[in-house]
């Protein structure tokens, strides 16, 4: 899966949780939680959405690696490679 495909998958999960978010203006290196109005429940639903799309498990301990969009994409790419 290319990085663009992963990014689009993440955006699909994100719009599920925050439909009003304008994904085009998200900066890939800034913390997602600073750019979007997401509380702990939204975060969980977001993670579940990603888990369902990419069929990968995301333990809570790995949450810090998902703080930014780039980090999130790296994390998924690595999880899919093995």
């Amino acid at each position: 899966m290319t990085r663009e495909e992963i990014r689009d998958g993440i955006f699909r999960a994100l719009t599920q949780v925050a439909p009003e978010a304008d994904v085009s203006r998200i900066k890939p290196n800034l913390r997602l939680r600073d750019q979007l109005d997401i509380d702990s429940m939204d975060l969980l639903n977001f993670v579940i959405g990603v888990h369902k799309q990419f069929k990968i498990d995301i333990p809570e301990a790995d949450y810090p690696q998902l703080a930014t969009l780039d980090g999130f994409i790296d994390y998924i790419a690595k999880a899919q490679s093995h």
């Binding site: 702990s40 993670v47 579940i48 809570e60």
Partner: protein, 398 residues
């Protein structure tokens, strides 16, 4: 030791008056002997005993009216040792009675729901349901139409005709209306709350280290879909603490406090694009954490989809609001009338923590209680918040 209780003497008997004893302490009684006379609504009835033994103690005097099931005398059955102390007469008589089989429906209060539609009064116009639906869909304000149906009722055709003859419709006015209407409704409710309810505020710091550690271990065992957020622990702790301080769980209506037997905790949920609702999680105290999580997630999704049930909007017996995610330290909230308390939770942060002379780093949050002074006072409020704190120290018991 056998108990001789006020018997059930007929389908609809709930209590009976003891007229006289036929036996005294020390008398030997055989199974089937008449031991006492009891007066019911229908008549005086001789009451038999169902065991053989000697009367050990008489607990009820003639003339006393007691509910069915109340222990009236103790009989030491033949060949059974006398029991030293005497079981105390149940203080709360009603506790002795099994809960009535059909759940007594608590009177559903048509309190003004906090949600947007509450404070708004729409002028009464006669319009058929299908016409009203079409008018709403097309963004036509029915007040501007004149009805051709019976009694001047606005019919489907009236709306269709108006739609055809109308100029281009302005950009989605309905959407704008809804947000401002909600803001007005919340404003009205908050103003009333401030005006009528004498608030008192308490806050305390709660060490969440144990809870967070337990939660992390618990979530390892759970699949992603069943993962718990810490908010659920707070919710359950509040619900369980309310069992010990019931005066905080209820409403204040027509000048009187009305504590509620069920515990329905309203959870403040922010709507995307502004606005707030606090629907009830029914019977919060009776749900395990997994159920609470499922119901909480379902409630958030339906709140944001605008498909909450009216009972969820009107049944809350207390409200909890957590602004930790928004980085708020402590929340001193305004009580939602007609409720009598509001619990607020701030964000979890790491803090130096001194106990038994030792300093350590702990994850803590600030919990606050806004209470209605007409119903409870700081003393009881403080004990309640302390109970929430204590419950959060043993997360596995929640």
């Amino acid at each position: 030791m056998a108990e001789f209780v006020m018997p059930q003497l007929g389908a609809d008997m709930s209590a009976g008056k003891l007229l006289q004893w036929r036996k005294k302490v020390g008398d030997l009684v055989q199974r089937g002997d008449i031991v006492a006379d009891v007066e019911t609504d229908k008549a005086d009835i001789e009451v038999e005993v169902f065991c053989t033994g000697t009367i050990e103690k008489i607990l009820i005097e003639p003339g006393e009216k007691v509910p069915v099931g109340t222990v009236m005398a103790l009989i030491r059955e033949e060949g059974k040792p006398a029991v030293a102390e005497v079981p105390a007469r149940p203080q709360d008589i009603t506790a002795a009675l099994p809960a009535p089989t059909a759940p007594v429906p608590t009177p559903r209060l048509r309190g003004t729901p906090v949600a947007p539609s509450g404070a708004l009064e729409v002028a009464r116009i006669h319009i058929s349901p299908v016409a009203k639906k079409l008018a709403a869909d097309l963004g036509i304000d029915p007040v501007s139409l004149s009805g051709t149906g019976p009694g001047g009722r606005i019919t489907l055709e009236d709306v269709q005709r108006a739609a055809q003859s109308r100029a281009a419709t302005p950009a989605a006015p309905a959407e704008l209306d809804r947000a401002t209407r909600m803001r007005q409704a919340i404003g009205a409710a908050m103003a009333r709350s401030k005006r009528e309810i004498p608030h008192y505020y308490l806050s305390t710091t709660i060490d969440m280290t144990q809870a967070i550690a337990w939660l992390a271990r618990e979530n390892l065992k759970r699949s992603v879909e069943d993962r718990l957020v810490y908010g659920v622990l707070l919710l359950k702790a509040v619900a369980l603490a309310l069992r010990e301080y019931p005066e905080l769980n209820g409403l204040f209506v027509a000048g009187k406090a009305m504590p509620k037997p069920e515990i329905h905790v309203g959870v403040a949920i922010s709507l995307r694009g502004g606005g707030l609702v606090a629907p009830a999680v029914h019977n919060t105290d009776r749900q395990d954490l997994g159920q609470l999580m499922r119901n909480f997630r379902d409630l958030v999704q339906r709140a944001r989809a605008g498909s909450l049930r009216s009972s969820e909007l009107s049944d809350s017996t207390i409200t909890v609001t957590s602004l930790g995610d928004q980085g708020v330290e402590a929340v001193f909230g305004v009580i939602y009338p007609p409720q009598v308390a509001l619990v607020g939770f701030g964000k979890i942060g790491e803090r130096p923590w001194a106990s038994q002379g030792q300093i350590s780093v702990r994850s803590v949050l600030t919990a606050t209680l806004s209470g209605d002074h007409r119903v409870s006072d700081g003393h009881r409020g403080g004990l309640f918040i302390a109970a929430v704190d204590r419950l959060l120290q043993e997360p596995s018991q929640l």
